[in-house]
Amino acid sequence: MGRIRVITRLVARDLRRRRGEAVLMLITIMAASTTLTLGLILHGVTSQPYAQTRAATRGPDVVANVFPTGPGTGKGPTESNGVSARQLAALTTLDHAPGVTGHSGPYPVTWALLRAHGTTATAEVEGRDAAAASLDQPKLTQGSWVHPGEVVVERSFADALGIGAGDRMTLNGRSFRVAGVAVTAAFVPYPNVCFTGCIIKANETTTQPGLVWVTGATAHSLATTGGPLTYFLNLKLAHPGRADAFANANTTPSASAPFLTGWQDISQQDGNVVRNEELVMMVASWLLCLLAVASVAVLVAGRVADQIRRVGLLKAVGATPALVAAVFLAEYLVLALVAAAAGLIAGRLVAPLLTSPGAGLLGIAGAPPMSLSTVIVVACVALAVAAVATLLPAVRAARTSTVPALADAARPPRRHGWLVAISARLPVPLLLALRLAGRRPRRVLLSVFSVAVTVSGIVAVLIVHAHDDRRFGAASPLADPRIVRLNQVMTVFTVALVALAAVNALLITWAMVVDARRSSAVARALGATPGQVSAGLSGAQVLPALIGALLGIPGGFGLVSAIRHSAGSVITTPPIWWLAAVVLGTVVVVAALTAVPARIGARRSVAVVLQTD
């Protein structure tokens, strides 16, 4: 009990004495905990919005459709009804298939050129009855259901177009009033409507099609040579859980045969909107955790170096090496636990902003649930960050001999003969920078690592941007909700990453300034100007930053490669000047960030430093 009391007392006193550093450490670990919490909360919530939409719209278990296979598919002139009677018969016989307990449709579907608010887009137009269907009745979120001369627009498509109930639009040049806005579980929301199959009218628009409901008669009348009529049938099964198996069993490898899609596939495609965010948040949280390790390691090493005499005093009054290590470890583990708790709360508060599933789904109300496993994982990661960063300095402090510790003797710096020889041939600021950097190679490695992690994240974001620009084209008049949401998440992630890296750069520079105060003072006593010393201290950070930035470029490609590999897509290389700007910008930012602490360090009184050391 006595030891625990001593440890508690020492930890409490030290935390109170160094509040600024404690707060900095809290913020660092909290940033990582928050993103980790968000990543974990997002994981698993992807299916919930679809389930709610499915329940609210009496969503089908299987959606079946047929497409025209004749000249109507664009290979030549054809009649407006592109689906043959035999195809339609094959589709309608599915409602008698074993295991089917109900159906709605078949509904006529065609494709039309839509114009609204000056924007041109392609619409997949489904003809529906004015009466409510027993299966797949889209849930209105605005206005009323379709009547002749009116349309209802799928919600995410309406959001992208910027239209709502009461507005007007044209389909193939015919004017319609927007009666309402609705969601459905039978189609994947804009811009993924084509998941269940569609015919895009080439060369007329650069956008992905969105879903519009009209009356059956209107759908028939809108069908044209370029947009032939097809049919969609909704099926209800006795065993909804076997929908995928039913779809597979009833789909034949023929272009004219009905194509069936189970609700599980639609649900999974729906979840992609949030799934990309989830992936980004998970990657972001791990990158931030790595940065947090670097930050905390620098903080702890700096504090331990500053507390050598305290270690000596503790040992002189009988503290064992284990007790000394325990004091250091306990202090940082307590901070890590507090930071984890704060991160969990912050993550829980922010999560609803990111987990709202998009306009195409009804979504879940309020904050998503936080599981016990999330709490445990976040707490463990925060503790691991603190433990990994603290272990080496704590053990080193514990092993410090009592007499040198009482004399407050700093750990002797490393010597690298080759570095000294090379630096002798360089201008004074570079000479000082190389020699200062060479004194503490571990700190330089942390600096390189920190910048490399940050630049990897930034390059990954640039690659994603370049990929999306190329995929969807800058000319697209409609905003892709997936890209908009992903960009928001990536912006938050980039800001967090850059902020933490900036804190790291400042911490590392300050640690170097403190560590090099005597050698800086000696250099000044021997004739180095404050500007040269300041440039040297700053340069000692800029050189690792340059290496880190260069390493971050392949790091970013590696990161995206790993993510894209799991997503099964290819990597788009951003323009070279983007990457060059990142490297140059990193070096400039690090130079600017380190200039202030370096300048403060270089202007300390030489006489005072040399007399006190």
Partner: protein, 260 residues
Amino acid sequence: MRAILGRLEGRKVSETGSTAILRARELRKNYGKDDGLVRAVDGVDLEVAPGETVAVMGPSGCGKSTLLHLLGGLERPTAGEIWLAGRRTDQLGERSLAAMRRDGVGFVFQAFHLLDELTAVENVELPALLAGSSARGARRRAVDLLERIGLADRASYQPAALSGGQRQRVAIARALANEPLVVLADEPTGNLDSAATLDVLRLFDSLREAGQTLVVVTHDTRIAATADRMISMRDGAFVEETRLTGGTTGHLAALAGLDG
């Protein structure tokens, strides 16, 4: 060291009409204010002639080290004037002060203040590198200085592998790297045993013979006995000045009882 003498020959009389290489007038340095005011240096007047060795003595805390820091431009005076080689230095900016320390002054500290990660020769060549000398020229000069102080065989040793006396001799060689006008030594033997003290005293004596201007702050009478002039300091002010004949190393060793 002959080069030092060469540089001093033909030195012009300063603007103040003095031939002193180093001159201070009404020099003051205060710390704190009101009730906490400490007059570390209180109205000191000093003139050091070229090639002269001046010893400043006094008890701990009398302001000796502060005076040395003021003369060398490591601290700025509260009031008064400092002139080095006819140029007023107390009003110089940081860059000019740094240039003055680089080219005009060599410091020797009680705690040596050698950089632990550098070898003896690398420590000695550092001031020349900071002054913009070529790497080869700086190394040649450093090796030459180490030979003169008898430590050529320790050139590649790091400070931790050297004895206290050897470290201080390396520090003195470093102070001479840029052929300074004045060497300012702050308790140079304060951390040394008797034998090492004798080594350093011999080195200072050879410097004096070579015409190097020296200002040594000490509370050790044996060191002061090597000087041309001994100034006693108390409470920040000079209280007594004694002109000495200046001792040879042998004379000094006999005086100090260290040659046996």
